[in-house]
Amino acid sequence: MLRTLSGRLACATHRANAAISTSVSASRQFSTAFTAAQATPTATAASPVTSETSSSSNSASPVNLLRDQLRYYAVAEIKNRPYLITKNDIIVLDRLKDVQLGDVIELNQIKELGSKDYAIQGKPYVSPEYYSIKATVIEQPKGKIVETFKKKRRKHFQRRYHMKPLHTLLRVSELEVKAQ
C-alpha cells in the first residue's frame, strides 16, 4: 500500500506537464492514439492527440511517458476476445488449428496499452509502431470433461452432454513499448 501511495505521489508531478486528454478519473491519464493502416478512416481526424504525435521525438509524448514507467499491460484481442496480459503470462485459448508447438505469434490487435498511471486506448487498435508483443505456443492440451445437464421438470426431459474442450496455451514472451 505504501509503495502504491508513494508511486502515485511521484507521478502526480507528471500530470501537470502532459497535455493528454483525460478521462474521468483524476489518478490515471488516458490517451487515444490513431492507428495504422488497419484503422477506420475517421480515426485520425477526430483524435485530440494528433498535435502531440506529430512531434514524435518529444520526450513528453504519451508513449514515452508510458514507457518510462516500470511495468506494462496490454489488452490484446485474439479471435475477437479481449485478454489483459503482462509479460510471462499464459493465455488460454480455444484450440488454434493452424499453429504448431513453438510457433511465435505477433499480436497486433491491441485495444489498450497501459502502465500504472498512463494508458493508450486504441481506436479501435493502438498503432503497432508503439509496441512489440509476441507469444509462443507452449502447449495444446485437452481440458477436463465438462458436463452440461438440461432438464425440464415434470416433462420427462433430461439430457447430459459431455465434452472435453481443446485449448491452445500461449506464453507471452515479449511485451515491450517502443521509444518514440
Binding site: 490515471r28 511495468r71 510471462n88 499464459i90 505456443v137
Partner: protein
Amino acid sequence: MTAPMVHPVLKNGVGAFIPQCRRLVFHYCERSGSSRGMIEYVKKDLIQFAKEHPHVEVIVTPRPSKHPVIRGLYLNGKDKVVCVRNMEPKDIAGKVELLKESSGNRMKVFKKPVISTTESVRGIWSPFHSAPHKI
C-alpha cells in the same frame, strides 16, 4: 546444516521453448487382433513422426497378451497412458499428436482466460488513493 533447496522458476516459452514430451513408448501384441491398427501405424507412419520430432525418444516394444498402449513421458517426470485397442492408424496418429502436444500436467478445467503470476500493473484499488466521488 544443509542449505534449503532453491527451485528455479520455469517460464517455458519466454526465453527458449522446450517441448515437454520427451519419450513415447509404443506397446503392442503380435498375436492379438486389437493391436492390428497399432502394428500398421508402427510400420507406416511412426518413422516419419520420429524424424519430424527429433526431441522425442520413440520406443517400440512388444507387450504380449495385452492391449496396445502408448505411454508418454514428460519433463516433469509424469506420464500419460493411452490405450489404443481396436483403433485405426489414423486414430492412433491423433492420440500420438495429443500426447506430443500436452505437458505432463493433469487435465484440468481452465477457469480464467489468462494465468498470471506477476503483480498487477495498476495496483490494488484503495478508497484512500482514488479520486473522490463527485455529484
